[in-house]
Amino acid sequence: MDVITEKRAEMIFISLTGRIDNQSAETLEENLSKIIAEGARQLIIDCSQIEHINNAGLRVLLNLAKQVLDFDGRIALHSPSQSARAIFDRTGFSLVSRIYETREEAIAGVAGSGVLSASRNDRRFVTK
């Protein structure tokens, strides 16, 4: 599993790739908690490259959402792969977290105004 993050203005773009299982979920949680601790409050998560996500991975995303909301932040998941979409649906995850079809919709959802105002890449790093 890889976690790719990219910062644009106030938004943090996160791309999850590969298989998110019990082992990789721990790493994912550490990485995401670090991002929150650094002050990120608007998270856009790209799920298009997720091969599989188990309930440990879903719990991490749910906890992330709780943390962000505790800080009055916003989070949006978008472009789920076929596998991720099926898992979000059958586990009821999509009942509590809206899954956007595209990155643009997710950005609009987080921005609230529907207007994308982020600047070009401020920062980009890859965590494995």
Binding site: R19, D21, Q23, H52, N55, I87, L95
Partner: protein, 357 residues
């Protein structure tokens, strides 16, 4: 993607629970899962079933092989079991002066169906079944979910399948108990409460796109939609509650299959086989991801005399000893220590075995 391989050596297997959801005869698609587990020699610790899934669980728990279950289904599940109308109840739906319908009523008389279940299960009791088998029902008075773990198998299966308003509920343990579909259509939560580590849940779905016509078709579509929402809500709760892994296998059917459509059984089992094929990697990952090498047990095994080593023709999974009772009590995740002689799954390429977690 990693090829899941259960590594050789001294292993601790997770407790494995199989949950079969509601679905009438479609739940027989689960036979493919039991075939898969038998082929991989993976033991099952708990069966939890609801409605059609309850029937399948009870038959496997009673010791029938998947082939026997399919054959018995072909011969015993006949339309005549579901064709004996209770006209007093039926008329009572429309007018209390024409007939009578109350909480103990059903549109169909249950006698033939109950007799068929008694012929199948005899005097066998739930507490005798192996793996341990639990059946989901619903208290008709309160709507509360009631999980049966004891009593006559035939009665418990009937109660779990007693779909309102088709069949009257069963009177068991001082309650009127009906189809579990109304409280937990895919009772994963029960497997979590019983401390299963890896839970494989089969959800049988009809993805029918045509508009429903007629009362019963509309009624069933409504129930089906409600059941989907209930299942998803409970699945979400399960995510929060469970400590390890739940693999949800959706078995999709593209047309309506009635409980008496026994001619569909081969196609149903094939549908299950395809669904299991799609998810077997996830299932094996979940099991392999839990297993851990216990160095202390490994050291003990080193001291085992040669003549106590498993013979070459021994089963793939051999219980060698229980984890000591104290550890077992404090850590329910570790059920038993087993010796794997060879990997149950051979990787399709030359990738090294998955490392222990």
């Amino acid at each position: 993607m990693d090829k899941p391989t259960l590594p050789t050596g001294v292993r601790e297997l997770p407790k494995i629970g199989v949950v079969l959801g509601t679905g009438g005869i479609k739940a027989m698609a689960s036979l493919a899962l039991f075939d898969f587990f038998a082929e991989q020699k993976i033991p099952i610790d708990l069966l939890v079933g609801c409605s059609g899934g309850a029937l399948a669980c009870a038959m496997i728990g009673s010791g029938f092989t998947p082939t026997e279950v399919r054959d018995m289904g072909m011969t015993r599940l006949q339309k005549t079991l579901f064709a004996q109308f209770d006209f007093s109840s039926l008329l009572g739906i429309f007018s209390s002066q024409l007939g009578n319908f109350d909480k103990t009523s059903g549109i169909l008389k249950p006698d033939r169906w109950r007799n068929s279940l008694r012929e199948t299960f005899g005097d066998k009791r739930l507490e005798q079944l192996r793996p341990r088998t639990l059946l989901q029902t619903t208290d008709v008075d309160t709507g509360e979910g009631v999980v049966l773990s004891k009593g006559l198998v035939a009665d418990a299966v009937y109660a779990s399948c007693a779909f309102f308003p088709a069949f009257p509920p069963a009177y068991l343990e001082g309650r009127y108990l009906g189809d579990g579909i109304y409280s937990a259509p895919v009772p994963v939560v029960e497997a979590i409460k019983r401390k299963m580590d890896v839970i494989i849940a089969l959800d049988f779905k009809e993805k029918v796109r045509t508009e429903p016509k007629g009362f019963f078709s509309c009624f069933y579509r409504h129930i089906d939609n409600t059941m989907r929402t209930l299942t998803r809500s409970q699945m979400f709760l399960s995510l929060e509650m469970h400590h390890h892994e739940i693999v949800i296998v959706e078995v999709d059917f593209d047309h309506t299959i009635n409980p008496w459509d026994v001619h569909e059984l081969p196609a149903i089992v094939e549908c299950g086989r395809k669904a299991i094929e799609l998810h077997k990697t996830d299932i094996l990952h979940a099991i392999a991801g839990f297993s851990k090498t216990k160095s202390d047990v490994a050291q003990q095994l080193v001291a085992v005399p040669e003549n106590l080593s498993p013979p070459s023709n021994a089963p793939l999974l051999q219980p060698t000893e229980q984890i000591n009772q104290d550890q077992s009590a404090t850590n329910a995740r570790f059920r038993q220590t087993v010796l794997l002689r060879t990997p149950p799954v051979v990787a399709e390429n030359s990738e090294p075995n998955r490392k222990d977690s």
